[in-house]
């Protein structure tokens, strides 16, 4: 793995650790957030979010020998549409459909379309909001004539500014892990990793 990739993962890890620390308090939705203003998200609320930004291929781990190879993808575009439903104060679950498109160094186009089940914890620090989130699902990938469907795990956080009671604007940073498994030729099994950084617009339904 090249140095920029390692740095990016390190920065991401620090960011996630920080959000996870906040999430400790918010993980139990029955507990009031104390010094923070009352969490506006109650059971029955919902959020509809649109995201558009960049996606970066960072990780290509060869399961057969544990080596890291280049993913050979340039910066790409990432986008998604999600619907989240609050089942407790500050805690929501929902679904998301997204995409990531990136060009390879040899001129091919890589496309990934994840469809995931997502959960998120919403910590409100008026007028800001941090929402650590984890998602699991399936991702359809295509590269030239090759295509495959694999499981995907995504984790990261939304960093939002609550512009009004209805709208929140901000940034998502999220890491995608895609274990690519080929039962018929296991030498091709890999773990791919992507970083998504997207501008986010969230509407409080």
């Amino acid at each position: 793995m090249n140095r920029p990739s390692i740095r990016a993962i390190a920065v991401l890890a620090v960011a996630l650790a920080a959000t996870a620390a906040f999430a400790q308090d918010a993980a139990d939705p029955s507990v009031d957030v104390g010094e923070f203003p009352t969490n506006p998200y109650e059971s029955g609320d919902a959020l509809l979010s649109f995201r558009l930004g960049a996606g970066f291929g960072l990780l290509n781990l060869d399961f057969s020998d544990g080596s890291f190879d280049k993913l050979n993808l340039g910066p790409g575009a990432a986008f998604s549409l999600s619907y989240m439903h609050f089942v407790a104060r500050g805690f929501a679950i929902g679904g998301e459909l997204g995409g990531l498109v990136s060009g390879s160094v040899a001129g091919r186009t890589f496309f990934a379309a994840p469809l995931v089940f997502r959960s998120s914890w919403h910590i409100v620090l008026t007028p800001f909001e941090i929402a650590p989130t984890v998602a699991v699902g399936a991702v359809l990938q295509r590269l030239g004539e090759l295509s495959h469907v694999d499981p995907i795990v995504r984790f990261g956080a939304d960093w939002l500014w609550r512009q009004s009671a209805d709208w929140g604007l901000g940034l998502r940073t999220e890491f995608w892990l895609i274990p690519q498994i080929y039962l018929d030729h296991p030498d091709s099994n890999r773990l791919g990793g992507f970083l998504e950084t997207t501008l986010t617009a969230t509407y409080h339904l």
Binding site: Y83, V105, R108, F117, A138, E145, H185
Partner: protein
């Protein structure tokens, strides 16, 4: 809310099951990406072009991509040949120590054959003795071979074709209706075979010219609608001909032909229309037979096929090497020439004291590509 969670989960699983039927291909996606090598943009003027020829003359390569271009054998940068006596270079051949180029528009004479011994000073050949217009030129290793077409009727259109040898234009064989020469391969010692077509009544059929003597309608020779579109030579195998029916042929003697049993097919399972054929060194030793394909009507091109030269021990049993590992990697092929029409192939195996070589692929509308051989490995395809 449980309904939403169930619906999302079910949708994810359903899509995984449905989409799991997608073709995985011979390599994993991330594995294939890891094997990619950067593809250059190449010479801007060559993009989306159909090169007419590439030949080596002295220490330079010459290419007809619209105009006449050249670059040093050991260099990378192509430039238009200054002072070239024409703007459209149609065909070229190296013979008798000279570079011959067929231009179509020189000083109002169209077309004309020009030659140079130094790459700078050009001399026009007197083509007055030719019956018809020269359309292509070749080399038998020593002499210039010129294909000439004479228009014999306009309504309906009719033509006759002939071959001439040397720049004194010695006529070979008799003219045949609709005769056209698509490719020539030579042993390098004044011996050659040309893959040709001719009009037998109302149908175009294959014709074969052996040192100028044309053979048609022989037993075993492919008949209409199959034509011979390319020819290559290997000292062990002999002349190998590529047919429009996805098969390879060889003429051993009059009425004694071999044909491969296996039909080379495109990705749709249809017999590929083969174009040029060439024999080059292969990874791991031995030789590879490369067979170009071209889009023709509804038949899609697939770049080129690789056939292990050793499999020609029994000609009919020669089979495709599907892994594309003889002159390239699978990933390199997929990212370069796969799906493209490879109209011609040219190999120069004498770059550095016979320890390296350059292989060129001339595509139909996708520019000029090359691949270098260092005596052990191929570099992989990249744009010129």
């Amino acid at each position: 809310m449980k309904q939403l969670a169930r619906a999302t989960l079910a949708l994810s699983l359903l899509s995984a099951v449905i989409l799991g039927a997608c073709t995985a291909g011979p390599l994993g996606i991330f594995e294939s990406l890891s094997l990619e090598t950067p593809i250059d943009n190449g010479t801007k003027a060559f993009a989306s072009q159909t090169p007419n020829f590439v030949v080596r003359f002295g220490s330079d390569y010459y290419a007809g991509v619209g105009a006449l271009w050249s670059r040093p054998v050991t260099g990378e940068t192509w430039s238009k040949v200054s002072g070239a006596p024409g703007t459209l270079a149609l065909s070229a051949a190296v013979a008798d120590g000279k570079l011959y180029v067929l231009f179509n528009d020189t000083d109002g004479v169209s077309p004309s054959i020009q030659h140079t011994a130094d790459g700078t000073n050009w001399t026009s050949l007197d083509t007055a003795s030719l019956v018809g217009s020269p359309l292509k030129i070749f080399s038998d290793g020593t002499n210039l071979i010129t294909y000439v077409r004479e228009v014999t009727g306009t309504e309906p259109y009719a033509s006759e074709g002939r071959l001439y040898s040397s720049d004194a234009f010695l006529g070979l064989d008799t003219a045949r209706p609709g005769f056209d020469v698509l490719d020539i391969a030579a042993t390098g010692a004044n011996a050659y075979v040309a893959a040709c077509v001719w009009l037998d009544g109302t149908a175009f059929e294959s014709a074969l010219s052996v040192d100028g003597a044309v053979s048609v309608n022989e037993t075993g020779q492919p008949g209409a609608p199959t034509t011979l579109r390319g020819v290559g030579y290997d000292a062990t195998i002999g002349y190998i001909l590529a047919g429009s029916d996805g098969k390879l042929y060889r003429r051993n003697a009059a009425n004694d032909w071999n044909a491969t049993t296996t039909t080379l097919k495109n990705s749709s399972g249809v017999a590929a229309v083969l174009s040029d054929i060439i024999v080059v060194p292969a990874y791991g030793g031995g030789n590879a037979v490369l067979v170009g394909t071209q889009s023709y009507g509804a038949v899609d091109a697939v770049g080129y096929f690789e056939v292990d030269a050793d499999s020609f021990t029994t000609f009919a049993a020669a089979t495709e090497y599907a892994d594309r590992g003889l002159v390239s990697s699978s990933t390199n092929f997929q990212t370069t020439l796969e799906g493209k029409s490879v109209m011609k192939l040219y190999y120069d195996g004498d770059v550095v004291a016979r320890t390296a070589g350059h292989l060129f692929a001339l595509t139909g509308g996708d520019g000029l590509w090359s691949n270098s051989w260092d005596g052990t490995d191929w570099s992989g395809w990249n744009r010129e």
